[in-house]
């Protein structure tokens, strides 16, 4: 259950929409098979930040049990890191 007030929840939602719109603006530049490394990392960072807001504010984990909160925050971070590593491998192989 969320411990945030309706106003705080609306603020979180606006932040989330802002991050999605920022991602959409970045994605407009993508027309090629090669995704620039910095671009991929920026999108993955945005995803982690969005996931963090959903877990802390929508899911109400800001003051929730620490193991559960850490686990839920670690899950998106792990896959974002894995995707970042994949993007890095791709960039290195292109240079090589």
């Amino acid at each position: 259950m969320s411990d945030r007030s309706p106003k705080q929840l609306m603020r979180t939602w606006i932040f989330l929409l802002g991050m999605v719109l920022l991602g959409m603006l970045l994605a407009r530049e993508l027309h090629d098979t090669t995704v620039p490394l910095g671009f991929a990392l920026a999108l993955l960072l945005l995803a982690v930040l969005k996931a963090r807001l959903v877990v802390l504010d929508f899911l109400g984990m800001r003051f929730g049990p620490r193991p559960l909160r850490n686990g839920l925050l670690a899950w998106p971070s792990f896959f974002a890191l894995a995707a970042a590593a994949k993007a890095l491998i791709g960039a290195v192989s292109l240079v090589g």
Binding site: P6, L30, K50, W75, P76, A80, A83, G90
Partner: protein
């Protein structure tokens, strides 16, 4: 009286425990699929990069907006002090936005299906449809659950359904850049 209160508290703890077991099993299942997609994209980088050009990230981003708005309404429904009428309204809006997500996703599938048969893209689209389809079934199913809960919004049921909804939201947030962009 005390026994009844203790018993109700015990039941709620059991419900919460089962809910989190379910949620982590879902996260593990989605994790395996996302991991498989990442590994396959390392194995066949060229095919995956070209296949990805046939996806529609703009539509997927629109769907992200829809799902996040739905998640916001679910959080409002589960918020402290929300009246029954407010809970009901928020749950119905959350569910309807979930169904809108499903409709948009079907439209997107319609634009992508014709590329799925090409040999070079087969592995990409198999994993793409498996992953997004599995997620889509969750959205549709829990959307129906939200509507059922909205009918009689008992606090424990609202908490269970909205928690599951946020986790589905969380999975999409991770899937979106992995499948479409990064």
């Amino acid at each position: 009286m005390q026994d009844a209160v203790a018993s109700a508290a015990g039941e709620e703890e059991t419900d919460a425990f089962i809910l989190w077991v379910l949620i982590w099993s879902e996260l593990a299942a989605f994790g395996v699929l996302i991991g498989a997609f990442l590994v396959a994209s390392i194995v066949s980088p060229e095919d995956f990069a070209v296949a990805r050009l046939h996806l529609k990230p703009g539509i997927a981003a629109l769907n992200t907006l829809v799902l996040l708005t739905s998640g916001w309404q679910a959080a409002v429904a589960a918020g402290k002090g929300a009246s029954t009428a407010k809970k009901r309204r928020a749950l119905v809006i959350a569910a309807l936005l979930g169904f809108l997500f499903v409709a948009i996703k079907f439209y997107e599938y319609g634009t992508e299906l014709r590329f799925a048969g090409e040999d070079a893209f087969q592995s990409f689209f198999e994993l793409y449809f498996l992953l997004t389809g599995f997620h889509l079934v969750h959205v549709a199913f829990v959307g129906v659950v939200l509507l059922l809960v909205a009918w009689k919004p008992r606090p424990a049921n609202v908490d269970l359904a909205t928690t599951l909804w946020h986790v589905i939201d969380l999975v999409w947030i991770v899937m979106f850049p992995v499948l479409y962009l990064a």
